[in-house]
């Protein structure tokens, strides 16, 4: 009876099965047990990760993430490093007064804060979409998650 519960648990709970409660994953190759020596418990891998990684829904999740994260990171890095570079190489522009005595350098530095907050806000909005896609993928995996061969 306890065996069935174990297999059931393995098929629905994808938390890595570990040797010690402190280790993150038995799935590292700390002890490369040859296949014929593996216990049934070690042999269980509830998900074929390569197939998940190649599946269309996972690839579209990654595409969506890349489409947001890469341009956003590129933008903030360029925008940020423009500040020290302009300070160093365009002192004339940076010292131009914009509002009263306040110069362009200060306004540009201040704008970095709003840039950071805006990108963060945009990311949070985009991420709710990623969350939905992730949930769908996990739900699909758990539906399909059959006990390992020989179980049941």
């Amino acid at each position: 009876m306890s065996d069935t519960t174990k297999i059931k648990a393995a098929s629905t709970d994808l938390t890595p099965v570990v040797a010690a409660p402190t280790d993150v994953a038995r799935l590292t190759h700390r002890a490369p047990v040859p296949p014929h020596e593996q216990t049934a418990d070690q042999d269980v891998d509830v998900v074929d990760w390569d197939r998940v990684a190649a599946a269309e829904d996972f690839k579209s999740l990654i595409r969506a993430k890349v489409r947001f994260v890469v341009p956003a990171s590129a933008f903030f890095i360029v925008y940020y490093f423009a500040l020290p570079l302009l300070v160093g190489y365009a002192p004339g522009l940076m010292n131009r007064k914009v509002v009263g005595v306040v110069n362009f350098a200060y306004v540009f530095a201040l704008s970095q804060f709003f840039m950071a907050w805006t990108i963060a806000a945009l990311y949070v909005r985009a991420a709710t979409r990623f969350d939905r896609m992730e949930k769908d993928i996990i739900a699909r995996l758990l539906r399909r998650g059959k006990p390992a061969p020989g179980g049941n």
Binding site: T22, V24, V47, V87, P91, F113, A120, I137
Partner: protein, 512 residues
């Protein structure tokens, strides 16, 4: 005022000690910290003495160039938010090394990662202790520097050893609230001084008068270039910017915070909270720094404890002795909380990565052993930091130590975190080479830079090594990887990548 804070935090420690049991509780507060709480805690961990005292001092003395630090410190959170926070939460357990060890050979990788974590934490921590000692020595002349450092060290050991992550988190939250409150109040007082007229405020900032040698000079403090002077000024700024932007995402005491929340979504929410708080705080540093420059004056600050005392002296001038005591207590609380956060991340790393997973190959011999080791480590790390801080004395350059911590984190930790998540071919050799080259490059370059008076003629002209050591860290990781192939690590990549991207099977909140 200060004693009240100590009493409250000790109360929290007692409460946390009664509540928490088990490994996940000690290291990750049972993963039950909510988004806003963790956001405050992240902000609390981040806004260290270097920010409150250091940046205010830099702006008060050098104007705009000091503000460049503030900008970098906030923008850095975009790296954390966009690239590392959620994958780390999804794929790890207690430390960043969990993610590295997932598909690589865990023993060498964990040993190296633990070493770099301990290095970063120690440098950061010593900086805070020295700051605390100097602060107390000025506030209470009757207390010696040594006694102050020992007092701070002892308190922080108590928080961590008995309260674990839960107590540390709440200490951070309270401190973040106090710090924000104090900063906002102080900024309001500065503006009140100028009759809430921004025009008058900036007019004063553009004409700051102080003595340079024997000559009275008037400078426009909004002009860049008063601190980072030619010929290396711009490169130095870029270098500092790189260390800040890429270092934050590798700071162990920030990264461990993402394991205290229930899932990746909450980790994201907490980064957003932290960005809001940190952003407001760093915008307000303008008022603290420029306020100190215009209202208190650089000459007065020099005569009364040096640039690190700018913010407390501003409070004294505007709000009297009571407010001075309040702001000093906040500064002190800040240091205490940051040191506690650093201690717990260092001891977690040692106990979890080194003791359990390297020495005992992932087997906890007796239940609770890992926590016991972490407590002992916290005690040892704290004692070590006390001794080193006393040896360095109150004159040690605090900003230099914090800069080193950021540069080491950016050069050693970030390359291996990014590669192990996103580069399939990345392997054990690459991780060890990357960590080693980043660690070595940043430390060596700092030792031969003008920040340290080790050499009469510095070999390396920049104050911050980031622009050289960060690429070296990446190159080391790439080079090591190309030395050979590790089929097992490549085979595991899909699993790590799927787990990190979707959060499937991630560690959940502990039941109660």
């Amino acid at each position: 005022m200060f004693l009240l804070f100590v009493a409250i935090t000790l109360g929290i420690t007692w409460w946390a000690a009664r509540r928490s049991s088990g490994t996940s509780h000690f290291f990750a507060a049972g993963r039950r910290i909510s988004g806003w709480q963790n956001g405050f805690a992240v902000a609390g961990d981040y806004m260290s003495a270097a920010s409150f005292l250091g940046i205010a001092g830099l702006i008060a003395f050098h104007g705009f160039d000091g503000f460049m630090y503030s900008v970098g410190w906030l923008v850095a959170y975009l790296t954390v938010l966009l690239i590392v926070a959620e994958p780390l939460r999804n794929a790890g357990k207690y430390t960043m090394a969990d993610v590295l060890a997932y598909r690589l050979n865990p023993r060498p990788v964990r040993a190296m990662a633990s070493l770099s974590t301990l290095t970063v934490s120690t440098f950061y921590m010593i900086a805070q202790m020295v700051g605390a000692g100097a602060l107390v020595a000025i506030l209470l002349p009757s207390v010696s520097f040594h006694a102050a450092v020992i007092g701070v060290g002892a308190l922080m050991i108590i928080y961590v050893v008995f309260g674990g992550m839960l107590a540390t988190t709440w200490v951070q939250i309270i401190k973040a609230i106090l710090l924000m409150g104090g900063t906002i109040l102080l900024s309001l007082l500065v503006m009140a001084h100028f009759g809430f007229d921004f025009g008058a405020f900036f007019e004063a900032v553009a004409h700051v008068t102080y003595r340079e040698g024997d000559v009275e000079v008037t400078k426009d403090f909004l002009r860049p270039g008063l601190y980072f002077k030619p010929p290396y000024g711009a490169i130095d700024l870029v270098s500092l910017g790189m260390a800040l932007i890429f270092g934050t995402a590798g700071l162990p005491h920030i990264l461990v915070r993402f394991y205290t929340v229930p899932d990746a979504r909450t980790a994201r929410v907490s980064v957003v909270w932290a960005m809001a708080l940190i952003g407001v705080f760093y915008v307000l540093t303008t008022f603290l720094g420029f306020g100190a420059a215009t209202i208190v004056g650089r000459d007065y600050i020099v005569a009364h404890g040096g640039n690190n005392m700018s913010a407390p002296l501003l409070a004294q001038r505007l709000g009297g002795e009571m407010f001075f005591a309040f702001v000093s207590a906040i500064a002190f609380a800040t240091i205490l909380a940051v040191v506690a956060g650093l201690t717990i991340s260092a001891s977690t790393s040692f106990a979890h990565d080194f003791y359990t997973n390297v020495v005992h190959r992932g087997m906890e011999r007796r239940p609770g052993e890992e926590v016991r080791v972490a407590r002992i480590t916290a005690f040892v790390v704290g004692a070590m930091a006390i001794v080193i801080a006393i040896l360095l004395g109150p004159k040690a350059n605090v900003a230099f130590l914090v800069g080193l911590a950021f540069a080491v984190a950016a050069s050693a930790n970030l390359p291996v975190i990014v590669f192990s998540l996103f580069w399939k071919r990345f392997n054990t050799k690459g991780a060890v080479c990357g960590l080693a080259s980043g660690l070595l490059a940043s430390i060596v370059l700092i030792l031969v830079s003008p920040s340290v008076d080790l050499l009469a003629e510095p070999w390396f002209p920049l104050k911050n090594p980031g622009i050289v050591s960060i690429p070296l860290g990446f190159l080391g990781a790439i080079f090591g990887t190309l030395l050979g192939r590790e089929p097992h690590a490549e085979a595991k990549h899909s699993e790590l990548f799927v787990r990190a991207s979707t959060g499937i099977g991630a560690e959940k909140a502990a039941d109660h």
